[in-house]
Amino acid sequence: MTSAGSGLTLLQTCALSLLVFTGASQFALVGALAAGGNPLAAAAGAFFLGVRNAFYGLRLSQLLALPRAVRPFAAQWVIDETTAVALAQPTRRATRIGFTVTGLSLYVLWNLTTLLGALGAQAIGDTDAWGLDAAGPAVFLALLAPMLRTGTERAVAGLAVLLGLGLLPVLPAGVPVLLAALAAPAVLFLEGRRRGTSGTSSDHAHENNDVPEEDR
């Protein structure tokens, strides 16, 4: 629905959900295109948001132990929700069932609501009057909120906001977001330096901080 409000056609909106099928990337792409961004810069931002799925895949491939021939078909369903459900299952059989059921039902629902949303947006015309331009940032905020567990994440988020807003007036659309991504390595680098100067005990404290992250 947001996407149809941003000038994409019905076909483009549905193709996005069918082919990309990872929500944050889709909203990022649509937002960047609506802002008049270069298509490749827009795609690059969406791509970086999708990189986390590779790490979900790493964990899932050990748990699911799928035959190689099946993996290309399973890959499209490797997203936040299926990973969360699959990781919570006690046995391999339950993991496979959880992954398949979650993947299939989300895929069908997501694409169905995309179609209905796009049709609905066409019907109501001016989507801004209905406040639908606030849906995009609200989705991002909802995805972001559970990630802000420690000071490191908050520092990265804060720096990224400053970069994203500060560079917006001076650079072409889509580029400031990509540069804001540099907040991640920048904060990691500063954190590494601080750790390097404060000895080994804080090193261990830091390793412990990592544990909840891996439980995602």
């Binding site: 970086f48 999708g50 790490f55 890959a75 499209q76 540099l182 992250e213």
Partner: protein, 102 residues
């Protein structure tokens, strides 16, 4: 046409990383630094995107009804509301503020 290029590039890229995770041997991406960076990249991107789509109007920064909507979404998140309710809160409050001429 440009839109189709962007959709195609995103689809191929996003599918490739999903598949890579399933195919690559476990050890290759398990380095702590790579893991940390992969976990922090979405944080940076989502934060920047949230801020831009709230305050950006083309190349200028503005404070309008969307900010009120985002505030409502933040309150909903603090109250642990479900995802759809968070988005609905933002949409409704933004539309409401706009209807009142904000």
């Amino acid at each position: 046409m440009n839109t189709w290029i962007a959709i195609g590039a995103t689809a191929v890229g996003c599918y490739a990383v999903k598949l890579a995770g399933l195919l690559v041997p476990a050890g290759a991406l398990e380095k702590p630094l790579v893991r940390r960076l992969a976990a922090l990249l979405p944080v940076a991107l989502l934060a920047a995107l949230t801020a831009q789509q709230t305050f950006a109007d083309g190349h200028t920064l503005v404070l309008d009804a969307r900010f009120a909507g985002l505030g409502a979404a933040a309150v909903a998140l603090v109250l642990r509301a479900p995802f759809l309710l968070v988005v609905a809160a933002a949409v409704l409050v933004t539309a409401g503020v706009r209807a009142m001429g904000g």
